[in-house]
Amino acid sequence: MKKLTLGAFEELVLLTTGVLQDNAYGVTIKQELEKELKKKISLGALYAALQRLEEKGWVSSRIGGITEKKGGRRKQYFDITKEGISALNEVREMRNELFNRLPETKINWLKS
């Protein structure tokens, strides 16, 4: 089986979904991301990312409770899955490992 890859935007979405815990759905994810990234994000892009994540099995979705305010419309909540967490971990480890291999002298030299 082909190895599943986690894109940069997907990673952000996945992280945000995890951070928001029980309250992760379209609008909240969008707003949280916009706050962090300080730029506009279109719902379309977000849905596309969520959809891909769901296909890869890294998020699960459930239909949320019926709120009275919204006239009983269904609300789709997203949750990060166990596989999602491990995918994030994998990406982070790989990144850390690469970062650690950066020559220290170079970093210091660039800093100064």
């Binding site: 609008v27 969008k30 379309g44 596309a48």
Partner: protein, 860 residues
């Protein structure tokens, strides 16, 4: 509620499960934005998000989120793009045709939008009326916008339906330019003299200062932001400064008490300075507040539920109550209507600029239709090359609806490409277009503009796609799979009919170009009865009587000056009218044009004396005598008029001469009875006949002389000839626009014809090959291929020529002096169309006819 159209779009692209999620999220966002950003922003964001979702579904989405519509749209777009690629020449013909058609439509749309928005920016524009007057004269009802000073206050006092009214004095063109200056820095400034209700009725935003100050003090002035910047560099600096007004009536200082925002270009009232009306009234004589002097403009604001007709009935006889011998009746006309409906007949608005608005809108629509016809014709003609595709689709169960959608998508895609190209074209041509129409239009990216642009694309693509989609989707499955298509009689005629329509329109446009440019030529070269060559005039508002005489003497001494003649009026439209003339045997009152001139004017303008003599410079006693034109004498019915006396405004005046008729009004009117009165002393303008060849030098000398005497008032001159040309600005605009539009219409029609011929020749290539093998000559083949089209063009001539005759006659009849509609114009127009069409067709046919029959027959 979020915008319904966007929700509908979302519904047609999203699967059921996903839809409720997306809708829920979008609605929440919408409600949040509604509170924080307002309705427009919230709707805009909603649309943006919906399009974002659809685009992501379209390009990246997987099946579970979207529904068939997305897939079908993808498919249709792909098929359309492939067909564009496959039939490149057709695609390019359609693209170029539609793009130039859309560019025309866009430019005209821009112009019409500007014209229609005139004066609509006032908050209460729907209840704002201008009070007008109708006066009965011997020659019919004359309508004019001036009213007695007291009409406004009287309306407020006596009629409950009048909520408010404002009165203003707008300086007459006769009075020449007005100058506003600070220290020695003077600029031309248009001014209004307004009363305290001005800002309550009309929305001209104030930037600095309090308007009450203007109305409390007689010596205060409010100036525009632009004027303040020109005079003082900043608006704050301008406040409280003393400026000087110089014009016909005033040479007086005023204190700047406020600054208002520059008047927008879509206001029919244009001004850079506002003064207190009372100051003007005080400076005038006692006559000014009379109910018989009509000097001021009155606007009234009516109640919400006032009825215009009833109101007009109420005010009809108002002036008569105050001035029993007043001949005029009041009526109200909506203020916003005045600009477009400014021509009156029998006391009712009958037209005006609205005629041009309608004309150009019609032209835009017609050109767009012509471009759409190309698309219709070429797609239906190409039908049998795409029959297999159609047949397979039908066999697989495609419904008619789906096929219609496919062709509409194709049209939509093409129109979108074309409109982008058209927008580019329009942007490139905009400066040129502005130049022709004398406006300063620009594309502004606002909601209205985008809405107009999108609806233009949608309407065009539906227009273009409707016929092909209905035609193609109707074909029988089996017949199309077999590749047999029997064009029914009706279909072929429909296609031919469309071509005939295109070329009928082209012929009408060609004829109009011929007629309009010839009429303009005629106007510009006709002998006017006076000589306008090398005559210049300039304004002398600020001089006193003595200075004026000095200036005249000074000018006469210059070597390049042939004649000098002052006047208060000129021959290109600024003149008065009076019916206060009495003569022995008078039966009817006649409204005379009243030219008030100084000594030497008749000679300067080269007006010919028919009988008697002109005013003499030597005999001071000629002041107070009068000269008439032929028409006046004829209408008065005077025999041996020289030496007789008439009464002008109660004074005896002796007739000393008769001049030959000369044109003083535009060519739309007959020559009117004219009276020439002579005065000495200061007049508003001086006319100078300059020796040809020395213009530049002489004008410089005149300027020096004037500036020396006027102590620095600006010198502002113009040539009578160019003033004359300016009267026909509108006609010239129509002439150059009709040329460009005719060119574009013909270009588009020919493109279509070119495409059809190419297609036809391609289809009959085998037949031609066989004919050639059997011995047909090139001439025969060319004839064979062109005869069909020639018939259509001839048919177009039969339809187009008579209609163009009626249209031309209609236009020509609005002139009192016009060219004859000789058959030459029509023959010439018909011939040129035939030649153009033949060239287009022969380009293709000759190429085909020259082909080696081996190439065309070898294929199998």
């Amino acid at each position: 509620m979020p915008p319904r159209l966007a929700t509908w779009l979302l519904e047609s692209f999203c699967s059921y499960d996903f839809l409720s999620t997306a809708k829920w999220d979008l609605e929440e966002l919408y409600l949040e934005n509604l509170e924080s950003k307002g309705k427009t922003r919230a709707s805009l964001v909603y649309y943006q998000e919906v399009f974002g979702i659809i685009i992501h579904l379209f390009f990246k989405g997987k099946s579970q989120y979207s529904i068939n519509t997305t897939a079908m749209l993808k498919h249709n777009i792909l098929i359309s793009l492939r067909s564009f690629k496959r039939f490149k020449s057709t695609f390019i013909i359609n693209l170029v045709g539609l793009a130039s058609g859309l560019a025309c439509a866009l430019l005209i749309f821009l112009w019409v939008a500007e014209e229609v928005s005139m004066d609509t920016f006032h908050e209460n524009d729907e209840r704002l009326y201008q009070i007008m007057q109708n006066a009965e004269t011997a020659t019919g009802v004359m309508t004019f916008p001036w009213t007695p000073l007291l009409v406004g206050p009287t309306l407020i006092e006596r009629f409950p339906e009048v909520e408010n009214a404002t009165t203003m004095y707008v300086p007459d063109v006769d009075e020449g330019d007005s100058y506003l200056g600070y220290e020695s820095n003077f600029f031309i400034s248009k001014e209004l003299w307004v009363d305290k209700n001005f800002f309550e009725l009309l929305n001209f935003p104030i930037l600095l200062g309090n308007p009450h100050q203007l109305f409390d003090q007689l010596n205060s002035v409010m100036i525009s932001e632009g004027m303040a910047l020109k005079l003082f560099g900043s608006i704050e600096n301008a406040m409280g400064k003393t400026v000087k007004l110089q014009n016909y009536d005033f040479n007086k200082e005023f204190v700047v008490s406020g600054i208002f925002k520059d008047v927008p270009s879509n206001s029919s009232l244009q001004f850079e300075a506002l003064y207190n009306l009372q100051a003007y009234v005080n400076a005038q004589g006692e006559y000014f507040p009379n109910w018989t002097s009509n000097n001021t403009i009155t606007y009234a604001l009516l109640n919400q539920d006032a009825d215009l007709e009833a109101f007009n009935k109420n005010i009809h006889g108002l002036t008569e109550e105050y001035a029993p011998n007043a001949m005029s009746k009041l009526f109200a006309q909506p203020f916003t209507e005045r600009y477009l409906h400014g021509i009156y007949s029998e006391g009712k608005p009958v037209g005006g600029r609205i005629a041009y608005v309608r004309l150009f809108s019609a032209v835009a629509i017609v050109i767009l239709i012509i471009a759409c016809i190309n698309f219709m014709n070429l797609s239906t003609a190409k039908a049998n090359t795409r029959l297999k595709e159609l047949g397979v689709k039908k066999a697989l169960g495609a419904q008619r609806k789906t096929l219609i959608a496919q062709y509409i998508t194709e049209a939509l895609l093409l129109t979108t490409f074309a409109s982008l190209l058209g927008l580019l074209l329009a942007l490139t041509c905009l400066p040129l277009f502005n130049n022709i129409i004398g406006k300063n239009l620009s594309f502004e990216l606002n909601l209205n503009m985008i809405f107009g642009f999108v609806s233009l694309i949608l309407i065009t693509s539906f227009l273009a796609g409707s016929y092909p989609s209905l035609y193609l989707s109707r074909l029988k499955t089996i017949a199309s799979l077999k590749g047999k298509i029997i064009g029914s009689f009706g279909d072929i005629w429909a296609r031919k009919g469309l071509v005939i329509f295109q070329f009928s329109i082209s012929i009408i446009l060609i004829v109009s170009v011929f007629i309009v440019s010839n009429q303009i030529e005629y106007i510009q070269t006709k002998n006017l009865g006076y000589n306008r060559d090398n005559v210049m005039s300039f304004q002398t508002n600020t001089l006193g009587d003595n200075e004026f005489d000095n200036l005249i003497n000074e000018l006469e001494r210059l070597p390049g000056v042939m004649q000098v003649g002052p006047a208060d009026h000129d021959l290109t439209g600024n003149r008065g009218r009076t019916s206060g003339v009495n003569w022995p045997g008078r039966q009817d009152r006649i409204a005379f044009l009243n030219l008030e001139v100084g000594l030497g004017f008749i000679e300067t303008m080269g007006i010919e004396i028919l009988e008697g003599r002109s005013f003499s410079r030597e005999l001071k006693t000629d002041i107070g005598k009068v000269i008439f034109n032929e028409t006046a004498i004829k209408q008065m019915g005077l025999k041996d008029p020289i030496g007789k006396t008439v009464q002008v405004w109660g004074n005896e005046r002796q007739i000393i001469g008769i001049v030959k008729d000369f044109h003083i009004d535009s060519f739309y009117e007959q020559i009117n009875p004219t009276m020439i009165n002579v005065y000495d002393g200061m007049m508003s303008k001086i006319f100078v006949k300059v020796k040809s060849g020395t213009e530049l030098q002489t004008i410089n000398q005149i300027e020096e002389a004037y500036e020396e005497i006027s102590e620095g008032a600006p010198f502002n001159f113009s040539f009578v000839d160019s003033d004359y040309q300016a009267i026909y600005e509108a006609e010239k605009q129509v002439a150059s626009l009709s040329k460009s539009f005719a060119f574009i219409a013909i270009l588009i029609s020919c493109l279509g014809l070119f495409g059809l011929t190419a297609f036809n020749a391609e289809r009959r290539i085998k037949e031609i090959g066989i004919r050639k093998v059997l011995g047909a000559g090139i001439g025969n083949i060319v004839f064979l291929l062109s005869s069909d089209f020639s018939k259509m063009i001839l048919m177009a001539l039969v339809i187009g020529l008579p209609s163009s005759y009626f249209i031309a006659q209609e236009w020509i009849s609005s002139f009192a002096f016009a060219i004859n509609l000789s058959p030459v114009y029509f023959i010439l127009a018909g011939m040129s169309l035939l030649v153009i069409a033949w060239l287009t067709v022969s380009f293709q046919t000759i190429k085909v006819a020259n082909q080696n029959p081996v190439d065309s027959l070898r294929m199998e």
